[in-house]
């Protein structure tokens, strides 16, 4: 396609003259669904060969933006030109030339690897002479050569993603648009995926990709940070980091240090416990915060820090929650002895012993299928154990499940809220379902909303709320009947760092009131918020203790949570081999 004259023309000579024609150019681009804006005011330029990362949590508007650039979704406001063509008037031209990879799995699962590739090539007019050669090259690069005849649905998630990338690389596109390419992909496949992309870029292709992993943005030429449909910041990774420079500190706790000191400081936006006596702190102003009994020194910001610091400019600060937790007593609220659950021959949970104290936060970590969810269901009284027994607040989970269930709260991964009801209607429903007396209803709901960090209840339907708000509402619904034990099943997936921080402060505050909390999570860094960690593998609880205990058991004093986790799994595998 011949390059058209740019919209700005060549009348004004400038240093930009030599720059190549922009591949993508948007100005004040926005999109509304049913009158509600989901994306507004996006102005960006992508030049030949550049890599642009769109970074933001779930619901930030990343997919909407990419679909508009791929000319398969019409903008409501603003303008977008791709290869010089307008996405509304010349949509067909753009659709034929871009390589768009949608979120999730977009290939035909009944077709084999080779058939999917052949289909993609045929509908995109790839010359038949060059197809075989390109196919062999791509399959070799993706490590899929051996699986050419396997059906797509039988491949692992990582392989399916790599294949999807191959199907859009099979034609000579100049622009790749990738929607969360590494979502749900294991670390190794993720690396291979990026290797394929690097090669494509070496051939001069331009790439736009969306991600909720902040660290993936670092390799980009440009990064656009999105939050709730608005641009937070845009620039090179170095530029963005510079904006947060001086607002990120490392804190070494001395004797007598309390987290309360951090909470009390108006300047501190959020903080994370990195190691036993070490914190990472983000501040509002570029001034070193003064914290008693602690040694504060500036440190280099990561993209996650940038996001947190930039977030404060366009969101309500909200009231901080104080979470000073009393020392744990020996009051046991949940106890399991030899709990085992079989499904036929399969052992989902294998002889788990654990005791959880009142007000304690327990993190359950483990790969998919390790038995975390089954264990939680047994402790909730939803599933009787095949062997062993467990008690919750003194009640047997198998025989007195009714008593057990009225004393627990549960927040699932997908927040089981009614999306076509308002927050208040949801709260009333859950309050009634848990048998909250009518006379106490209003008071309980107000208190649950406050404890979940919802200052004012929105009148909008839950379906239109941000994921961070929905998460807090789900928490409010789970505590409206004042449970003694709260189960959280991956409560923070897809939520931005600052909201995640705030969520954990709320959890700590609940624990401070004496609620025991059992949480399963994929974000290993969140393990630092827990009092003790339980590592699960193949249904067994292979290790349990504080992070420090687990580290010293492996002899890895300063190891990251991920390494501790992998260390125990490796040790367990080695033991299995021996026996």
């Amino acid at each position: 396609m011949p390059a058209k004259a740019g919209p700005r023309g060549c009348a004004c000579p400038s240093s930009r003259d030599v720059a190549p024609e922009p591949i993508v150019e948007t100005s004040a681009l926005g999109r509304s669904f049913h009158g509600r804006p989901v994306l507004q005011d996006i102005s960006l330029t992508l030049r030949e060969g550049e890599l642009l990362g769109i970074v933001g949590p779930d619901g930030a508007g990343k997919t909407t933006l990419l679909q508009m650039i791929a000319a398969i979704l019409r903008p409501s406001t603003g303008e977008c030109r791709v290869f010089g063509s307008d996405v509304v008037r010349e949509a067909a031209q753009i659709q034929a030339q871009v390589g768009y990879m949608s979120q999730g799995f977009s290939l035909y699962d009944k077709l084999s690897v080779a058939e999917n590739l052949a289909f993609a090539a045929d509908i995109r007019d790839v010359p038949e002479e060059s197809f075989e050669e390109r196919k062999a090259e791509l399959l070799a690069m993706a490590g899929l050569g051996r699986f050419e005849n396997r059906q797509e649905g039988d491949l692992s998630g990582g392989m399916r993603k790599k294949l999807a990338l191959c199907t859009i690389l099979i034609h000579e596109t100049r622009l790749l648009i990738l929607d969360e390419p590494s979502l749900g992909v294991d670390p190794l496949s993720r690396r291979e995926l990026w290797n394929i992309l690097d090669r494509a870029r070496a051939q001069g292709k331009s790439v736009i990709f969306a991600t909720s992993y902040m660290d993936e943005a670092d390799a980009s030429d440009q990064v656009l940070l999105l939050r709730e449909g608005r641009p937070l910041a845009m620039g090179t990774p170095a530029e963005l980091r510079r904006r947060a420079q001086g607002k990120v500190y490392q804190l070494a706790a001395g004797t007598g240090f309390s987290e309360r000191a951090l909470e009390a400081s108006d300047d501190v936006i959020s903080f994370q416990k990195v190691a036993v006596r070490e914190y990472r702190v983000q501040t509002l102003t570029a001034q070193s915060p003064v914290i008693v009994n602690a040694d504060v020194s500036p440190t280099d910001p990561t993209m996650e820090d940038v996001f947190t610091v930039e977030s404060t400019s366009n969101i309500d600060q909200g009231e901080g929650v104080s979470a000073v937790r009393p020392a744990l007593t020996d009051d046991i609220s949940v106890k399991s002895v030899g709990v085992t659950r079989r499904f036929g021959k399969f052992v989902a949970v294998d002889a788990v012993d654990m005791a959880i104290r009142k007000g304690e936060i327990i993190g359950l970590l483990g790969p998919n299928g390790a038995g975390k969810t089954t264990l939680i269901r047994i402790l909730c009284g939803l599933l009787p154990p095949s062997e062993g027994h467990a008690t919750l607040a003194g009640f047997d989970v198998a025989r007195q499940s009714h008593e057990v269930r009225s004393r627990i709260g549960y927040v699932s991964q997908r927040f089981s809220l009614f999306t076509d009801m308002t927050p208040m209607e949801n709260l009333r429903f859950f309050a009634r379902a848990y048998g909250v007396p009518r006379s106490q209803m209003e008071e309980r709901i107000t208190s649950a909303a406050r404890r979940a960090g919802l200052d004012a209840l929105s009148e909008r339907l839950v379906g239109s709320l941000s994921s961070a708000l929905r998460q807090r509402l789900a928490l409010a619904c789970a505590i409206v009947h004042r449970p003694l034990v709260l189960f959280l099943d991956e409560p923070t997936s897809g939520v931005d760092p600052l909201s995640r921080f705030r969520f954990w402060r709320l959890i700590s505050a609940l624990a401070a009131e004496g609620v025991s909390i059992i949480v399963s999570t994929h974000y290993l860094e969140e393990a630092t918020y827990c009092d003790r960690l339980g590592l699960m593998m193949d249904g067994r609880l292979i290790a349990m203790g504080t992070l420090e205990e687990l580290r010293s058991r492996l002899g890895l004093e300063d190891a990251r949570v991920e390494d501790v986790f992998l260390g125990f799994i490796a040790r367990e595998r080695a033991l299995e081999k021996k026996s």
């Binding site: 669904f33 679909q67 791929a70 000319a71 398969i72 979704l73 019409r74 949509a91 067909a92 659709q95 034929a96 871009v98 390589g99 768009y100 949608s102 979120q103 999730g104 799995f105 977009s106 290939l107 035909y108 009944k110 077709l111 058939e115 052949a118 289909f119 993609a120 045929d122 509908i123 995109r124 007019d125 059906q151 199907t167 859009i168 648009i177």
Partner: protein
Amino acid sequence: MKLRRMRAFVRKEMLEIARDPITIGVALLMPMVMLFLFGYALTFDVENAPLVIVDHDKSVASRALSHQFLNSGYFRLDSAPESEAVAEHAVMTGKVRAFLYIPRDFGRRLASGRSAPVEFVVDGTYASTAAVVSAYGRAILYAFPSGRLDMPIQPEVRVWYNPQLRSRDFIVPGLFAVILMAFPPLLTALAVAREKELGTIMQIYASPLTKVEFIIGKLLPYGLIAFVEMAVVFAAAFLWFDIPMHGSMLLLILLGVVYVLCTVAVGLLVSIIVRTQLAAMLVALIMTLMPSFLFSGLIYPVATMPPFFQAYSAKIPTMYFVNISRGIVMRGAGLDELWYEVVVLIAYTLIVLAAGILLFRKRIG
């Protein structure tokens, strides 16, 4: 329009269908279930209807009349009470379909050549059954040989095309139209909606594939499945139900192909409008199966409907194929007679396809 792109699309559809045994199973089994269900159950014939006879005459003539009823094969004797009240009660409680009352001097009046009234009461709860039962009763009474009533006209009614008035011979050719309107569109509607639901349609949107290529690429493979469904249904009808064929099998198959392309196009249009498989299924059922039953002439002739419903029936392709199918199978009709129906079906198909191409958007929302 590029042949290569379309061929690739058709091939992809065929591979997907071939590797989904459940879909094939449903596609072939459901039409058979419907054919057998309605082929056996949807019959207006009345056999062995329970009858009460109150014979107060007890003469040779009255006994002969009773025998005429009971030997006809249409009635069986339920009871022969002495009192009319008991008989009436049996009709009222639904125990019997009809009641024959023969008064005391029936035999004498007949013998003397006077008119001899008898009473024949039919349970009218089920109007269509009642009509059949009363017609049978009347036929037997008129044909009663001894001392026939003085009738000015002696009608000699002959039924053409289906002399035994077997309802199956009439229902099954009609069912062809309804079955092929019910299942092929359903399958087709699900096919596109599934691509939307799973997100595989995204790679179609972001590709040079045109709307026409997409629609024809879906129409051909699902048309082929519909053709196989048609073949299976025809085979069952002519080999299992032994429906007599009075016309050209080739013509029936040829016009059947025109019809299934039309019904598949309707399914395609549905799937272009809706977004989910659930909606596709509901809309397809409401648009195809439900009106096909009532407004195609399968059960009630369109010609006797109020004008509004006649006009409505004319909007549904099923009616035209009911006419075509019954015409060929029962009357041996040819194209010279059925050309109007054929023209309408072809025009219908083209209009529906055009609407599909017009409404299909290669983008979200």
